[in-house]
Amino acid sequence: MIITSDKTGRRVMNLYMGTGLALTALMMLAGLMLRVSQAGWMPMSPGQFYAVLTLHGAGLIVALMMCGMGGLWFLMRRETSLSASTAVAAFSLVVAGVAGVLISTLFGGFAGLYTFLAPLPFHGSWPNWSTGVFLISMALITLGWMAWCLQMLGAVLRAYGGLRGALAWDFVWHRQAFDASGRTAPPPQAFPALMAGFDGMLAGMSAMLLGVALIVRWMDTRVLINPLWAKNLTYFFAHTYANLIIYMLVALIYVGMPYATGRKYHTSAVLAVGWWCSMVLTLTNYFHHLYMDFVQPGPFQYLGELSSYLSALPVTAVTIFGALMLVWRSGMKWTLGAIFMYTGLIGWVVGGIGAEIDATVPFNVHLHNTLWVPAHFHTYLVGGCLLFAIGWVFLCVESRSQRRTGSLMRWLISLLTFGGMSVFLMGFYCAGAYGVPRRYSIEPSPGPDLAKIATIGATIMMIGFVVALLEGVRLRFGYPDQTAGGQSVQEARA
């Protein structure tokens, strides 16, 4: 069963995911503008370019984060009681923060980039107020995020008997006694919830510390922020946020793929241990962003490379391999929901491999300041996270709709979306391999030529998403009238 009769839960999920996807669409348009500008077709001034780049980066991360928050919240509400008003209040804070980011970048011209790495926010040509609005907005987003994380962490602790139960510790180490006691292990989607709550709180606290320190620095120029300290905090929280987005959306895979394949995703000892590893390694792999900071203590650099490599293992062994095995010979119907989810797994793998290459010190020296890095995180975010979110939405809609998507339409959407995406992403990868620097409004050759190809790819991809949206609306209007109370088709049939 993919949808419950819990109307409030559905509304909260729709609020988060609907807003998140709408914001994603807006940020994709902003991203398209950037590529068009780099292609030389409609050049922006450097000031405009970096302001839009700031908005695009911050907005897209928050948009996809909202999708993950809504989806995971909905799944956990099926397991334990969760206050909807708290979730809506957290959502309101995030939305208020997003509004502030829009104001500071579009009207204030703030261009301190989405990582707002100190001391960059204080050394620009934009007005001082826009720096303040941006920093306060990020603090609001962090507050909303932390409230959501604390609620999620509290939910798993209450539902599964504290941290030991939520980790499935006894299930892994004392299996016989565990089975004899009649207890059951947490479902697979509880692990992403625990990880999002736990790691999210750690990341949120570091973001809040840095955010308040920067706000204080903005108000009082006597305050000095150590750049290395700030960079460590920045990448600790930002990298963890970015990682958590996909880990949150994996919960949708754990529920969505079993629905699509008719097979169950079991909690196993391997799955539990894999998630323990991910919880730890996600916190330490950000060091690969500081390889070039020669003042960073050496042991952290080794730890960064090691944990960057190790963090791929649990993901591959547990989620990706597990999902592939679910699909293997399951006779799964390739509905749009299933197609998007499955392709999202491919995007995750490809983006992950790109990240691993960048996390390797000898390659990092050549690739880290090039478009290779945007290549890997666009693959990861657009080719992974976004597809998981869209796939989930389609599975939900398909499960209730009496209409079905025709084969031709599925081919058309797949071809436009994934074909366009491949061309768009290859523009980044090739430019990175050629050493085209990232974060340049005017790129050296062959950057502009590759940006032209990427722009065409991105346009095709976005047309594909628009067609998918129209198809989603068509399916939505196919809901049966008699299923009052929001029951699923299966429930109604039962």
Binding site: S83, Q151, L153, A213, P227
Partner: protein
């Protein structure tokens, strides 16, 4: 009452009393001692005080709570941010001379910590411990880089704030200005990242050691020799590309210090002079030629 319940109650009492003693000690510290160390150490003392307040909160929180009390989420996430605001580093110097206000500041930090931990524990049992670790880690992490820019504060105040926190507030006179600048330079050496490449004990690093640098002849990559006087040192810091030292690869020293130390935003180049004073203090050949001119503001 069962044995287990009695044990838990006893543990709560012990934790509560211990926490209260630690927190009370931290809150009242400004009354008994006013010899401030560095700002970083001050941050760490706050973290210690937070441990006490957190333990007290855990002992006060409801022992059993199986259902969600979502109201408590909000103080739990907002209070730590207020705590960081209360640790506003540039105000420490002012607080050192206003001990009751300082006590109030400490009391507020202890109270917001208590609130954060209590609220987390009241929300869902067990989360209070997690919150305690987070808040203490946050306060302690401040020691890593949440400090004061000595230059502007030196210019803004008749009694240098940095100096006030470094030892105690003293009147400024002509002799002590040099000492003050040297101390500021030593601080900048750590806070501006110089220490990553330049040692002060003569050991070889990415860049030349500052020990016995000022006043000494330096070998250049073109085979010539130049005395490290004031102009040389100034150029090396602000325009490192203009001088290539033998034995050190070109292009490693960042050229970003020019914007941070000179230009319209730094008309008196106070921080730059402080660094050069510090370099001079490490050399036995330092003299008039290698020392900077004390800025006009400092001479007043």
């Amino acid at each position: 009452m069962t044995n287990a319940t009695e044990k838990v109650t006893l543990m709560r009492i012990v934790a509560g009393v211990t926490g209260a003693i630690i927190a009370l000690g931290g809150v009242t510290a400004p009354i008994f001692s006013h010899d401030m160390t560095t700002i970083a150490v001050h941050h760490l003392l706050h973290a210690g005080m937070a441990i006490g307040a957190g333990l007290l909160a855990l002992s006060l929180a409801p022992p059993r709570n199986e259902r969600e009390r979502s109201f408590w989420i909000w103080p739990a996430v907002v209070a730590p941010a207020i705590g960081i605001l209360l640790m506003w580093p540039s105000e420490y110097a002012y607080l050192m001379t206003h001990r009751w206000l300082h006590l109030l500041d400490h009391l507020s930090i202890a109270l917001v910590t208590l609130l954060a931990v209590y609220a987390a524990q009241a929300y869902v049992r067990g989360l209070g411990w997690f919150m305690l670790v987070l808040v203490v880690a946050m306060d302690a992490a401040c020691a890593g880089g949440y400090g004061v820019s000595p230059g502007p504060s030196f210019l803004l105040n008749p009694v240098p704030r940095h100096n006030a926190t470094a030892s105690s507030a003293r009147p400024v006179n002509a002799v002590k200005k040099a000492i003050t600048l040297h101390a500021i330079g030593a601080s900048l050496y750590n806070t501006m990242g110089c220490s990553g490449c330049h040692s002060v004990d003569g050991s070889k690093g990415v860049g030349p050691s500052w020990k016995d640098l000022a006043g000494y002849p330096q070998k250049l990559s073109d085979g010539k020799t130049a005395i490290a006087d004031y102009a040389f040192l100034r150029t090396m810091i602000l325009d490192p590309g203009k001088i290539a030292l033998a034995g050190y690869p070109a292009g490693v020293m960042p050229d970003t210090y020019k914007a941070m130390l000179a230009g319209p935003k730094h008309p008196h180049e106070t921080e730059l002079n402080a660094i050069i004073w510090y370099i001079n203090s490490l050399s036995n050949k330092a003299g008039k030629a290698s020392e900077p001119t004390v800025p006009d503001q400092a001479a007043k």
